[in-house]
């Protein structure tokens, strides 16, 4: 059994819900002595894709402790709203992970209503999740290259990200899968695969200057880690192996792990997973399909492996409306991991470690009522 994260007032584990909250070891808090001061990075700084601030306790250059300060918390109201409107909001909690969010939410709703979607819908969902993973893994590696001012790869990777977006748009109508999934419906039509030269991406690994900045940086060893961060530390954690609804095992899915747990291992895992995902996509067929959702009451959980780790929803449905909704976004766990792995490093390590987790502030800070 492994801890996945807090979901509502419970703790979600690989075996299901247990009374929460999850039990985490206490972090060691850095102390400031003579000469230390707190340095604020953010909330609106050029190097950050989203608005967030970090309060860094430092003696200059060194990082003794980091706290994250939230700035862009959105309050989203869902209670009592019809499922359709909640779906539109869920899609927009984190658009870069829209497929993961939507599919986890819809799975939760389907579980609550006691239906299992037809084969075609499941295949379409797998295709969407893997396309999304490819895009986000490329983006994470692109951010890492950009942090190193490694410009040619930066733009080559942006090129690939754009290519994936176009492939998604041709398959599902929208570059980020918005509107591609609906209650009792999957609208993607045909699968267009992006052309990605994985060998070219591997060239990154031959650049010593680049990998020096990632090796040994931000080591994660926590056994409650998730996603690529966990797999980079040698834990074989992956929702794709653990969740029954999406039949990944039938598609030749192989888990990728590394052992060091540092930013470099996280990048390696993401790089290899691009290839694994492309493999999975080769055997998938995508067709639109509708199915019936009955008007029932119930409670259900839906979990998927988002590009950055486990993502789960828990819903309580009543008469076609949402009574209760809880979200476990992977970024919330990844931020905890990031903050713990930062002390003992220096300022220049910061962006590399940060980007290596593939965190989205949008989903980590959203508050749902």
């Amino acid at each position: 059994m492994r801890i996945i994260g807090d979901l509502g007032s419970h703790c979600l584990t690989s075996e299901g819900l247990v009374e929460g909250p999850c039990k985490y070891s206490h972090p060691t808090i850095g102390e400031g002595g003579y000469g230390s001061f707190s340095f604020l990075y953010g909330p609106s700084a050029g190097g950050l894709l989203e608005s967030v601030a970090f309060d860094i306790l430092t003696y200059g250059e060194s990082i003794e402790d980091v706290r994250a300060l939230s700035y862009k918390t959105r309050h989203i109201k869902v209670g009592g709203l019809p499922l359709r409107d909640v779906l539109f909001k869920v899609e927009r909690i984190n658009v870069p992970f829209a497929a993961s969010h939507t599919i986890a939410f819809l799975t939760a709703v389907e579980n609550a209503l006691g239906v299992s979607p037809p084969e075609e819908v499941v295949e379409s969902r797998i295709a969407q999740l893997e396309l999304e993973r490819i895009r986000n893994n490329l983006l994470v590696i692109q951010r890492l290259a950009e942090a190193a001012s490694f410009l040619v790869p930066t733009y080559r990777l942006l090129y690939y990200v754009e290519e994936v977006n176009r492939a998604i748009s041709r398959s599902c109508g929208h570059r980020y899968f918005l509107g591609a999934n609906y209650l009792g419906e999957s609208r993607c039509q045909g699968l267009h695969l992006p052309r990605i030269d994985v060998e070219e991406l591997r060239d990154l690994l031959s650049n010593r200057i680049f990998i020096d900045r990632l090796q040994g940086n931000g080591v994660v060893k926590e056994d409650w880690a998730i996603g690529p961060a966990a797999r980079a530390a040698g834990f074989s954690y992956d929702a794709r192996l653990e969740v029954p609804e999406l039949k990944y095992r039938d598609h030749g899915f192989k888990i990728v792990t590394e052992s060091k747990g540092d930013a470099f291992s996280r990048m390696l895992v993401r790089l290899e997973e691009i290839e694994v995902s492309l493999k999975i996509l080769e055997g998938v067929e995508v067709k639109p399909r509708r199915f019936e959702l009955p008007l029932r009451e119930g409670r259900g959980i839906g979990r998927v492996e988002s590009p950055s780790g486990d993502l789960a929803y828990m819903v309580q449905v009543e008469q076609g409306s949402i009574k209760e909704l809880h979200l476990l976004p992977p970024s919330r766990i990844n931020i905890l991991l990031f903050l713990r792995s930062m002390p003992e490093n220096i300022f220049t390590d910061f962006p590399f470690n940060w980007e290596s987790f593939g965190i989205w502030i949008s989903e980590a800070e959203v508050s749902i009522s």
Partner: protein, 579 residues
């Protein structure tokens, strides 16, 4: 000059004026300082008429003039004016001495008064003990050297010698007093622990060490050349440059970092002395002599100015001190630290350049393994200067540039600061040669060239830089102008928290990078707890214990008895000399 001033009378008048200052201190501190300033001015005048040692005299006089002026403006304690003018008198006698006995008298007087001044300031005698203990080590070595000289010549008068042993002994006696590695506690301790007032710190750091340089220089002129000593001095000096600059860089104690910087400067001067002793080539020797003199000028005056800056600051740690900047302090401190960092067009720039040139020229002209010494030293000095620039940038920033604006003060600092580029021009007077270069619109004879036998090496033109720099700035200003200036708040990433950085933080990169050498400990004020430093501290403790035991046995546990003894000894020596 139509008016022929009799040098002898000028000397007597100068000495008597300083003695008057000493006497006046019993009545009024201010009067004493003013008279000390007058005496210093007379001494400068005297220096201008002297031959070979002119630079030492004029520079010492300037240091005293500035520090006693500062004291006249800011210090009110009579005991302080007493010990201060006594120290000056001691150094004066040393510099003016005609024989070994007078020299020793001045030397002891200087040690004694400086010791009293350090001890009395905070009513804390321990730093003084160390100072004194080292002072006595120094004196013992000097006496040994002088006795050897006496044995050879049969007179106490300064006379040409054929043996190099007196030079070896006295040189080490002097370096002890200069606070050169491994004796850096001599100066470092009292200054860094804030046991000396700004004006005394200037005198200890600039003038007292200069007396040591003077001593070595004088003995070198009497003794035959010894290349071995040259090599040793170059190495010790260069090591002190690197070591002093590194510690100055990581020190967060305002006076501590200046004290370390003094070690660095003294190291550079010692290196210059060493290269003077190492080379046999007359052209090179002349150039080494030039770099020595320029260094003496640059270091003594800039350091005096910087210690006076500390007089305008409250608190001692760079990260927590409070002060206000003023126009004078900003410009003055910037010029002083620019000179300390070896940047043109200040005199410090000329000094660093000429020293490095000397070393690299020697490395190719001195034969055999000895030639490696200046090469190695050049590398260490170069690295040291890099650290020094960082340290000095931090000093200017946190003692004035980043501080809130306050009332106008520190004009004396401005004056000394402005001297830096002026002295860069005056360095032409010391240069053994001048040349023209027909490129970049260089004016005729505006180049100070460096050359060793049979070749020219490089050149520098302070005048050119001094003229071109403002012209280029003016052109830029006229071209882009004030027209589009717009003031907005600094962008603090929108947090409204006004991003700040501390002095400690600025130096922390090196602390982290060299953590194995520096043994960086988190949150320690003295982060400089490295391998060497531990050894030194051990040494200090030993010396302190020794000097306590020494004082108990020798002075019957009473400082005053020792003082009385010294004064009696002083009178006896004076009598012996004059009779």
């Amino acid at each position: 000059m139509y008016l022929q001033i009799d040098k002898f009378y000028l000397e007597i008048v100068t000495l008597l004026t300083m003695i008057t200052a000493l006497a006046l201190s019993l009545w009024s501190a201010r009067a004493s300082h003013v008279v000390a300033a007058i005496s210093s001015s007379l001494f400068i005048l005297y220096g201008l008429y002297s031959g070979e040692f002119r630079v030492f005299y004029v520079v010492s006089g300037l240091v005293w003039l500035f520090s006693s002026t500062f004291s006249a403006l800011h210090d009110r304690e009579r005991w302080y004016s007493l010990t201060f003018s006594g120290t000056l008198l001691g150094i004066m006698i040393t510099l003016l001495s005609q024989n070994y006995l007078e020299f020793l008298t001045g030397w002891e007087l200087m040690t004694l008064f400086a010791y009293a001044s350090i001890g009395v300031y905070r009513r804390e005698w321990r730093p003084g003990y160390t100072f004194l203990a080292f002072g006595e080590v120094s004196t013992v070595l000097l006496i040994a050297g002088f006795i050897l000289a006496y044995q050879e010549t049969g007179t106490f008068l300064f006379h040409t010698l054929t043996d190099t042993l007196p030079l070896w002994f006295t040189t080490f006696g002097f370096t002890v007093k200069m606070g050169i590695f491994p004796f850096l506690v001599v100066e470092w301790l009292p200054i860094a622990h804030g046991n000396a007032k700004p004006s005394l710190s200037s005198v200890l750091s600039a003038s007292m060490t200069l007396a040591g340089v003077y001593g070595i220089y004088k003995m070198m002129s009497l003794c035959p050349q010894t290349q071995a000593l040259g090599g040793v001095l170059i190495l010790i000096g260069a090591f002190s440059v690197l070591f002093g600059a590194l510690y100055s860089y990581v020190s967060d104690h305002m006076k501590g970092m200046l004290a370390f910087s003094t070690i660095e400067n003294n190291g550079a001067i010692l290196t210059a002395l060493g290269s003077l002793e190492l080379s046999a080539d007359p052209v090179l020797k002349a150039f080494a002599q030039f770099s020595l003199m320029v260094y003496v000028v640059a270091h003594s005056l800039a350091k005096t100015g910087l210690f006076l800056v500390t007089g305008y600051v409250h608190g001692e740690s760079m990260s927590t001190l409070s002060t206000e900047r003023s126009f004078s302090l900003e410009i003055g401190t910037t010029l002083l630290t620019a000179s300390m960092s070896g940047l043109l067009p200040t005199v410090g720039g000329v000094a660093v350049w000429s020293l490095l040139e000397t070393l690299f020229m020697e490395s190719i002209s001195v034969r055999g393994i000895l030639g490696l010494i200046p090469l190695l030293a050049g590398v260490m000095v170069g690295m040291g200067e890099g650290f020094a620039t960082g340290a000095m940038a931090r000093f200017t920033s946190f003692t004035s540039l980043v501080r809130p604006r306050g009332g106008e003060r520190g004009r004396l600092v401005l004056l000394i600061g402005v001297l830096m580029p002026v002295l860069a021009l005056l360095s032409y007077l010391l240069s053994p040669e001048m040349a023209g270069a027909a490129s970049l619109g260089m004016f005729s004879n505006s180049l100070i060239p460096s050359g060793y036998s049979g070749g020219s090496f490089g050149g520098i033109s302070p005048l050119y830089v001094l003229i071109i720099l403002p012209i280029l700035s003016l052109i830029t200003y006229l071209a882009s102008g004030r027209r589009r200036v717009r003031t907005v708040d600094p962008w603090d990433n929108g947090s409204g928290r006004r991003l700040t950085y501390t002095s400690f933080g600025m130096a922390n990169n090196i602390r982290l990078m060299l953590r194995f050498v520096l043994r960086t400990r988190k949150g320690a004020v003295e982060t400089s707890a490295d391998v060497f430093w531990r050894a030194i501290l051990q040494l200090v403790r030993g010396y302190v214990r020794f000097s306590r035991a020494f004082s108990r046995a020798y002075m019957n546990s009473s400082i005053s008895w020792y003082m009385i003894y010294m004064i009696l000894a002083f009178i006896v020596v004076i009598l012996v000399v004059f009779l």
